[in-house]
Symmetry: D2
Subunit: 349 residues, 4 copies
Amino acid sequence: MVIVMRPEASENDVEHVVELVREMGLKEHVIVGSDLTVVAVIGDDRKKEKTKLEQAPNVDRVVPILAPYKMAAKESKAERTRVPINDTCVIGGEAVHVMAGPCSVESEEQIMDAARRCKAAGATALRGGAFKPRTNPYSFQGLGEDGLKLLAAAREETGLAVVTEVLTPTDVDLVARYADCLQVGTRNAQNFKLLEACGQSGKPVLYKRGMSMTISEWLQAAEYILAEGNPNVILCERGIRTFEDHTRNTLSLSVVPEVHYRSHLPIVIDPSQGTGHARLVPDMCKASVAAGADGLIIEVHPDPEHAMTDGGQSITPDALTETMQSLRRVAEAVDRVLGGSDVMDTASV
Amino acid sequence: MVIVMRPEASENDVEHVVELVREMGLKEHVIVGSDLTVVAVIGDDRKKEKTKLEQAPNVDRVVPILAPYKMAAKESKAERTRVPINDTCVIGGEAVHVMAGPCSVESEEQIMDAARRCKAAGATALRGGAFKPRTNPYSFQGLGEDGLKLLAAAREETGLAVVTEVLTPTDVDLVARYADCLQVGTRNAQNFKLLEACGQSGKPVLYKRGMSMTISEWLQAAEYILAEGNPNVILCERGIRTFEDHTRNTLSLSVVPEVHYRSHLPIVIDPSQGTGHARLVPDMCKASVAAGADGLIIEVHPDPEHAMTDGGQSITPDALTETMQSLRRVAEAVDRVLGGSDVMDTASV
Amino acid sequence: MVIVMRPEASENDVEHVVELVREMGLKEHVIVGSDLTVVAVIGDDRKKEKTKLEQAPNVDRVVPILAPYKMAAKESKAERTRVPINDTCVIGGEAVHVMAGPCSVESEEQIMDAARRCKAAGATALRGGAFKPRTNPYSFQGLGEDGLKLLAAAREETGLAVVTEVLTPTDVDLVARYADCLQVGTRNAQNFKLLEACGQSGKPVLYKRGMSMTISEWLQAAEYILAEGNPNVILCERGIRTFEDHTRNTLSLSVVPEVHYRSHLPIVIDPSQGTGHARLVPDMCKASVAAGADGLIIEVHPDPEHAMTDGGQSITPDALTETMQSLRRVAEAVDRVLGGSDVMDTASV
Amino acid sequence: MVIVMRPEASENDVEHVVELVREMGLKEHVIVGSDLTVVAVIGDDRKKEKTKLEQAPNVDRVVPILAPYKMAAKESKAERTRVPINDTCVIGGEAVHVMAGPCSVESEEQIMDAARRCKAAGATALRGGAFKPRTNPYSFQGLGEDGLKLLAAAREETGLAVVTEVLTPTDVDLVARYADCLQVGTRNAQNFKLLEACGQSGKPVLYKRGMSMTISEWLQAAEYILAEGNPNVILCERGIRTFEDHTRNTLSLSVVPEVHYRSHLPIVIDPSQGTGHARLVPDMCKASVAAGADGLIIEVHPDPEHAMTDGGQSITPDALTETMQSLRRVAEAVDRVLGGSDVMDTASV
């Protein structure tokens, strides 16, 4: 960190800061500039409370220098992390995978129909919520364990990997019994107890960015999973909260190259949550792949007009099929391939 | 809700929307305007999935009309809710209460010292974290149950009510055994399982706004607590995430009159989290009370330069004493009184 | 618009609102719902002051229904607008054009070198600022008319169209004498006097979104240009102000399909301003084209380490050449072509 | 500034950065830390382009240390600036002044009525727009010079100082002939040509913060006025653009103590623009004064239901009178007085 003194700071003030720095087990380097003095601090201050130094007399502010995350940082691992959800769906390699399916599991018919058609379109994983975090307490909250069973049945038939959300630490074991990949949603992105529990499960975790988290905060929170010895973290951008009102969230695609610059973890994009409108989803899928995303998670409903949740942002299976055809070309244009291409070719015969 | 059709919508398109509305058990009112047609929907659509209607051909958008919360709405309750934390500290009446104390319970000496001095300054409740949700996994996470015991001991001596955070549903019973009021933090503001558990506890809940929640979302989430039969909800504004960089968050004080306009629930302000800098706290305390807040929750540390958490935003006990003197005058200027004034007069003798 | 009454509104209150609506020359449609009454207003209220109705007793809020822009709306024009900057560079057709060049014109050598190399890489227009709006008054403000002359000289040699910024109405004529396309920057996006002057010039206008404008506000402001009889408006997204700190702005690519949904105007993307970091620019270029953008405007400097302005976000001519090769493939993947491909093929021989 | 190297930076990389720093006429101080190296730069780099250094190999980022403004900084001037608008209305002293009046000047009757009643309520300045920057080109744009004449007539009768907006450099002289104080609105906050023209006029300038400007950007832009030799700058916070939807803007009151901490310039608050709803204005007025604001600018209309602009946020003269009575008490509670108190006492007799 660098501690910036106020212009009016005295030598005593600087001396006092130096003492505080040494008390913290760190070393200092005092630099007297033309307008003011700064104290550069040497040593690993990641685990230290730094803001308290702002309370010392005539300290203007404290500027952190070291990235506050370690295991998620690129420096800690030479090669990119690949997270295998099942044999086919490995996130983080050359192949870009598409996870698709309804927002919620609503019924056997609905989820089986969705699964078959997502599979036929080329998806390699099935998404679908059994436990739903709903803004409104009176909204449909999901089928619970019955929903998980239906997802497992759909996997049985289609071979798709199953990705589904878990809401609370005590449900992690239950969800992990049925799912191939645990999903942590944006509203739980800083529910650290849940992250720890997911870490302990050892399962792959699709970890969505909180809608107002910076990348640094996101990577720090990902360490709650990594620190439990679970390396299988897939980051997922799903849009952030901004003043924009034409979308439910603002999908910030620059996080794709930035995460690849800062971290070894793979990143996928959720253009459904990221826009909130089905009409915008196909173009945002293409943009995501062109930006270098390692995968997509897309809401697909056989009958969006009658969806029980998030109907407005679900595309139809036909729209998915058409989008996948474009995505294949976009992936190739950026020297990637679409995951499960062979599977799909067989399936669509 | 009102369903706005695209200008090019045909009669068939409108007819189809009308059918969908009727399927939902609602009635419609078609209004053919100069430029486009809207379908106004009559009936209680709060529990209905509405966005799916955007998928019908040539629907431009769906505009909700009814507030999506019920029990938190002013209409549901004639008088303002008063939440008694203990005999002295009742939030939501004429008196404006100050809850003060350190960010974290660090040691017996620290919390007892803080408690005595906050009491002497006129606070009626003691805040202090035993379970801390830390952005960084390597930061101090709190003393856990030992911290709760220290808080209870401080209450024993000072008579201050104890407010402390709970992070996960399974800890609610434990925390409720020691605390007078459960705190739900901003990172758990949409951890609905936790809200339900707090609701079931029957204890007063200081419920902080998520840093990117709208007021409507906040009141909806508060219903997770209310719907469990627990009316003792205290809303707490602690700043929102914006582009501003001179503060940790942007403290949005207009929520005070707006919450009073929309809801019967009391609202308190956290100017410490809301600014992140001790130097800004006193003025924001005064502004909060002038805006009509029902209380304040302020981070106070006997030795901020050595605080284990959030040192930068903690004021000293002396600064609290001085601030309280101003607050008493500001409260009177807006026809309120400061809570526990008599207690304090005794204490300060 | 729809006027939503408070639940406690009386018949008199509704009657009063109806009178106000009629005074405005509009008609009303009163709808008594289960929980409250709404007054739907029929007629073109685009030019009416609507918020004043919130002052009538027991009005809760006013919800606009009609889009507030007319000439920019898709409904007003059957086909997409094409804006010819010169013979080669026509924005809004099948071809995706790249405008490239330095942030500022710094010297003859710099601009000629940049122009030649951008041309060789396949750009069809040269960007470069002669009048710079600088946040800091002590920063380099541009070469003024001398810069315009250098741009014209670079056009003379390379055939590239010239795009350059104008800051104030009185400079419009001067800039229009040298430039093929006037640029209005984000800080002037609601400088309506400047928009009017650009409209009167008849020149193509590259009109950047204000960094905190909604799409609706942007299209409304574009009408200041259109309303002067100048149809040659090119919208340009350059990132918005959000809480994100890994980029200078948040590049919101969903505006591309949304603008194409709402308007007939073409839209280009500025990934340089939109990210602020050269390392993110190439991927964001690809994402923009995949999202359906009609063009790109990219900061390119022969020697970014010594750029006089915005060095951090300028890519090198070599990086541009490499990016263009990818862009060609991405454009094809979404059924577009890169503008000026033939020209470039010749040039690169 | 501090230049942070990537962990993998070589000695050569550091050496190269050092050379670039020296080329800029600055000195360096290389600090080799435990995880990475930083280059601390000594010397006044305010006028230097710094981001270009991010282009040097293995530079991670550049962190500015010096505040980029000089004349607006507290360090440059020992005492707080007082801006005299007229004999009575001096902003920045002990007295808190209220500027009140309609959003737009609509007619002689309206402005004279408004002026008389604002005066009677205790305001010391009259606000009112003659040139209106309207989001929508079809909205009422103000009466122009006729409006200025009406404002001058209102001053003649009431003695109130006149504050009114100017939109473009060529209008500065005209507006300055009639007004006591020029207002620069949020949409022109980075219209640097306009700021320069206002600076040259020598008139007091009420300079509103851009709706997405940081405090640092705001103070930098204020220097465009100061650098012309005009010290009479009054900063005005009017709310920022955030995700909040219960208000038109988010009124960020922490800027009051922060501006007083960073600068010698006075700051006033516009709670009308800052909220957009008349019902929130009185409480936000009180909060502003309690936060330490040097004044308020409030939209007041004799008949808000028929206002031509911004009707929803204008309070009535009666509401102003009532608010002023509270404000007087709040001002006293924070050791200030309300400006023009004696005048008002006479007027209200």
